[in-house]
């Protein structure tokens, strides 16, 4: 009687593990399909989910694996493998985030330099016009504050608008 209860408990655990890992696989696949998740970041997830799915579904493999490393309770071995895989994925993402913040910094610097350069060119352009700066009217002779505004609020070109709306 107790043996039967234990068996059904183990079976329930296993089917739960199988369902969860399979669900993870499907979720990652679907995210890639919808282009929400880039392939480059999906590969590790797919690898991890596949490994866990195989371990969960293939009872003999998990049991012999846990016996080999001296874990008496096989589901613990599953947890150990899962933690290892998640650690790898986290490290991978830390690397990705570091690279992104590096690139972001460079982008901001380049943008700042570019904006300064545009203002400089605009100022040169205004000075080289025949009329003195102040006589050209409020539209043609923006104050420095206005010039900054223009730089920030410059309307996107139709292409840039479309590109940003798709993101």
């Amino acid at each position: 009687m107790t043996e039967l209860a234990l068996l059904s408990k183990v079976t329930l655990q296993r089917s739960l593990a199988v369902a969860v890992t399979f669900g993870l696989l499907v979720l990652v696949f679907e995210l890639v399909r919808r282009k929400r998740l880039a392939e480059r970041y999906a590969i590790l997830w797919l690898l991890a989910a596949t490994t866990l799915f195989v371990l969960a579904a293939w009872k003999g493999l998990l049991t012999s694996l846990s016996d080999d490393v001296g874990i008496s309770y096989p589901p613990s071995a599953l947890f150990a493998v899962a933690i290892g895989l998640i650690a790898i994925i986290l490290l991978h993402f830390s690397l990705a985030v570091s690279r992104l913040s590096d690139q972001n910094k460079v982008l901001a610097q380049r943008l700042g330099l570019l904006q300064q350069r545009v203002e400089e060119v605009e100022a040169e352009h205004a000075h080289s016009a025949e009329l003195p700066f102040r006589q050209r009217g409020p539209v043609a002779a923006p104050s420095p504050a206005d010039a900054k505004d223009v730089g920030e609020r410059e309307p996107l070109s139709p292409v840039a608008q479309e590109l940003s709306s798709r993101r």
Partner: protein, 251 residues
């Protein structure tokens, strides 16, 4: 301004870039040249500008896909009707540009023409390592199967697109190792592409984008993208677009 653009992606190609640009101007004087400097740490951008090309300087290395897409956005914004990719390392012989153009012009349904290394009628095939040829063969088989037409050189970056292709690639272009996926992207949007034979020269300088340690990732990433792509609904057409050539069932 001319209506044809040669987009030259370059990463640390200081030795080859000037001769590549002058070869393009010589062989195809009706093309403007845009060099996309993909975060080079050497003098590539300055050399390119001196050689008379327009230069897009990427603030850091984006990878070939991101750099190329930058070129396509430029082509879209400036209203170019035809764009051809020519590698900055001198592998692609600019004398073939007009072959590509003639083929593109010969059929108004065509949106992309690729120069293939493996269609050479003189039989002088492309020399490369066995693993690379095997990789190309696998991609070739997969792409041919999906597009239902023979694609011999899906990794060739020597390709010319029409305005329609420029519009597509400016909006959607694969991030890394883009060539194989770009063909399938074309196919998914019901645009037509074909190949013509070209000869490629050994690269003058620099190293291949793909080192051997990266090639495994390359294969896995592209095959994954191709596989997942099979489950994407093919985009519906925008209003005013030419009708689909044939009513294929969605893959």
């Amino acid at each position: 301004m001319r209506s044809h653009l040669a987009i030259v992606p370059a990463f640390n190609e200081v030795e080859a870039i000037a001769s590549t640009i002058s070869a393009i101007y010589e062989a195809a004087p009706d093309f403007d040249v845009l060099v996309v400097d993909d975060g080079s740490t050497d003098d590539t951008a300055a050399r390119a500008a001196t050689a008379g090309a327009a230069v897009l300087r990427m603030p850091f290395n984006l990878g070939i896909g991101g750099a190329m897409q930058g070129g396509y956005v430029y082509a879209l914004e400036r209203g170019y009707q035809v764009a051809v990719q020519v590698d900055g390392d001198g592998q692609h012989d600019p004398r073939h540009i007009h072959d590509l153009l003639a083929r593109l012009r010969s059929d108004p349904q065509l949106n992309m023409v690729t120069g293939s290394r493996f269609l050479d009628p003189t039989g002088k095939g492309y020399r490369s390592s066995a693993t690379r040829r095997l990789g190309i063969r696998i991609f070739s088989g997969v792409v041919s199967l999906i597009t239902r037409q023979r694609v011999t050189d899906p990794t060739s970056g020597f390709r010319m697109t029409s305005r329609r292709g420029i519009e597509l690639f400016a909006h959607d272009y694969p991030h890394d190792y883009p060539e194989v996926e770009a063909i399938l992207l074309m196919h998914a949007h019901r645009l037509r592409s074909c190949e013509i034979p070209v000869q490629m020269r050994p690269r003058l300088t620099g190293q291949s984008v793909i080192s051997s340690s990266q090639s495994v990732y390359y294969m896995v990433k592209v095959l994954l993208a191709v596989f997942v792509g099979l489950f994407r609904r093919r985009p519906t057409m925008d209003a005013g677009e030419p009708a689909a050539v044939s009513a294929e069932p969605a893959l």
